[in-house]
Amino acid sequence: MISSIEPFELKDCEIVMVSTGLRAQTMRELRDALKEAPDGSLLYHFWGWMLRPYLSESEYDNDFATWVDRSLRDQALAERLSVINPSHYEDLNALKNRLLDILDERLVQGDFLTWAKGETEFVFLKAQMIIFNSGIRIMQPKDLAPAVAQAPTGSIFYHFIDAQRRSPICCDDFSYWLEQFGDETAEARKKISMIDPYLFSLSELRDLIVKALNESMTQGGSAF
């Protein structure tokens, strides 16, 4: 069985940020601009922040929630926006509709915060992702942990974050590849699946994935 399995090609990526020209300074403007925003913009504001200047103490999982809190000072709305897991939506249109629903529900309340001008503008950006080969090829599960430990953060983004959006079952590339080795890698896959991709920086995620792989190896999976 193993002989028919393809090696794992470790890829890397870089994100280029591009302005969309859409801006908002109030909750209603945010809602209206969001309606016009291209898919690439949703991708960027939900995932792209991981590849840009980032403060690991940041409280929220996406840029919309962060702006609503820091600029509009509406913490309740920020919390509702932050809990959205983009991987749970069929496509970006469904994700956008969910965001619009939450904003509309808040806007009908009509209180001060729904029309107040934010301290700063929300600027809608979009991302272009450049994906390229790292030149590293992994043949056996035992070689995965050392390779991931040396991988650039762009590789972690591509194989762990971006993969969950690419995969129909919201699975990361590492687990998907390990699955082909059957039960022997089940423990590793289980541990990796328990890592919350939205709570850590990419370098922290790298450490957690390596730890999960190494612990599974220690616990005696024979494929390792």
């Binding site: 591009v18 200047p53 272009q128 953060t153």
Partner: protein, 414 residues
């Protein structure tokens, strides 16, 4: 790995270098020309001094050209610069004529180099009008705007916009600076070079030597602002903040260290105003440093207790990045690129007034352990986000993006 790349690997790790090299493979041999208006003085020249050799090491064929102009040209471009940053400046028709004519003359001189390039990066407004003289260009032309153009003076921007619109793309330092232009507007933050004379580690003796050299008092905490003598850097506001601090605490000293740049004719006027404001206080030290005084600035930043960058407008503020890299919490103006770098209470404070600056300086002077922790955060934040290797990566990705067309995902096979 080459010597230069090995040196960077020592700071940012080999992973980062491998990443850059893999990305650069798709651009091997690409002919790139950078054009700006000065080879020394100011952040742009400093940046190009390091980016050009690095891009060459990665296999690109890179040249760096400087445009030439007389003093009336640089007076005009300083006015354009100020207007783009929001100052109420208007330019007369003769000034625009000088601007356009100087660009025309430079276009003739640079014709061979620019027409053979694959990518032309034009830095800031001074050489922006070169593009008007290359109507049949095959290269991708990119206007790299390093300044804060969030609220430009409308008539000046409208005039410049006609030229800038001809570019294939533009680059701004922050999303808030992007304008309505008919081409992709990329966002790339500037960066510092950890291996440059201005940022390398220094021996303790060399740091301490600045006290004697500039007649500073070793016993008094040192507050420092390093920047050109420019109204947008608010040196008078810094002196005001210092005087408020001194009214609470006698033992303190201020250093305003500024260099001139060959494209900034206004510096002398502002320096005069600063000297006037400082003349009655022996604890205010105004240092006029040449553009080559990088090690001295490095030592001053490391000797300082608190570093200020109380700018009123700021494209990005590389002096902020430099200070953060040296484990210094920064008290910075709440504007432009400083917002991206200084996070309140994490690695410094953002302030809006001299009074606010004074309040935060006093806090840092009295909370040493918190200041130390903020300094550690400051260093790590720069290491993760604002080192030159990051910017080189961004430029490579941008070139790749322009080469292949604007698609949301681009898989490069090399």
């Amino acid at each position: 790995m080459s010597d230069l790349l090995s040196q960077y690997a020592g700071v940012v790790g080999e992973q980062e270098i491998r990443h850059m090299r893999a990305l650069a493979k798709g651009l091997h041999g690409a002919r790139v020309v950078h054009v700006n208006s000065t080879r020394s003085g100011g952040g742009v020249a400093e940046l190009l001094n390091r980016i050009v050799p690095l891009q060459r090491e990665l296999g690109l064929d890179v040249e760096w050209e400087i445009i030439e102009g007389k003093s009336d040209f640089f007076v005009t471009t300083k006015n354009i610069h100020n207007a783009l940053q929001g100052a109420p400046v208007t330019l007369s028709e003769p000034m625009w004529k000088v601007y356009e004519e100087t660009n025309r003359a430079n276009a003739e001189m640079l014709e061979n180099k620019l027409k053979d390039a694959d990518f032309v990066f034009i830095h800031d407004p001074q050489p922006a009008a070169l593009i008007n003289h290359f109507p049949q260009r095959s290269a991708k032309w990119i206007w790299r705007c390093h300044i804060d153009v969030s609220i430009p003076q409308p008539s000046v921007w409208r005039r410049l916009e006609r030229t800038v619109s001809r570019y294939d793309a533009s680059i701004f330092s922050l999303a808030q600076f992007a304008q309505a232009l008919p081409h992709p507007q990329y966002l790339i933050t500037p960066s510092i070079d950890p291996l440059s004379e201005k940022n390398i580690d220094l021996p303790k003796e060399e740091i301490e030597a600045v006290f004697d050299r500039f007649n500073l008092d070793r016993k008094k905490p040192l507050i420092l602002q390093v920047s050109r003598f420019d109204r947008f850097k608010d040196p008078l506001g810094v002196i005001e903040a210092y005087k408020i601090v001194k009214s609470f605490q006698e033992s303190v000293q201020l250093v305003l260290a500024g260099g001139g740049a060959s494209d900034d004719p206004e510096g002398g006027v502002v320096l005069g105003e600063v000297l006037e404001a400082a003349k009655d206080d022996p604890d205010i030290h105004i240092l006029e440093l040449p553009p080559t005084a990088n090690r001295t600035i490095n030592a001053l930043q490391r000797a300082a207790e608190v570093v200020l960058q109380k700018s009123l407008r700021e494209g990005f503020g590389l002096t902020v990045t430099e200070a953060l890299w040296k484990y210094k919490p920064v008290v910075g103006g709440d504007i432009g690129g400083i917002r991206l770098q200084v996070i309140d209470r994490f690695n410094g404070f953002r302030v809006r007034t001299p009074e606010g600056a004074a309040l935060r300086i006093r806090y840092l002077l009295h909370h040493h352990e918190k200041a130390r922790r903020m300094g550690q955060n400051a260093h790590n934040f720069v290491k993760d986000n604002f080192l030159i290797t990051q910017q080189v990566r961004n430029y490579l990705a941008l070139m790749m993006s322009l080469k292949e067309g604007e698609v949301s995902r681009l898989e490069v096979v090399v």
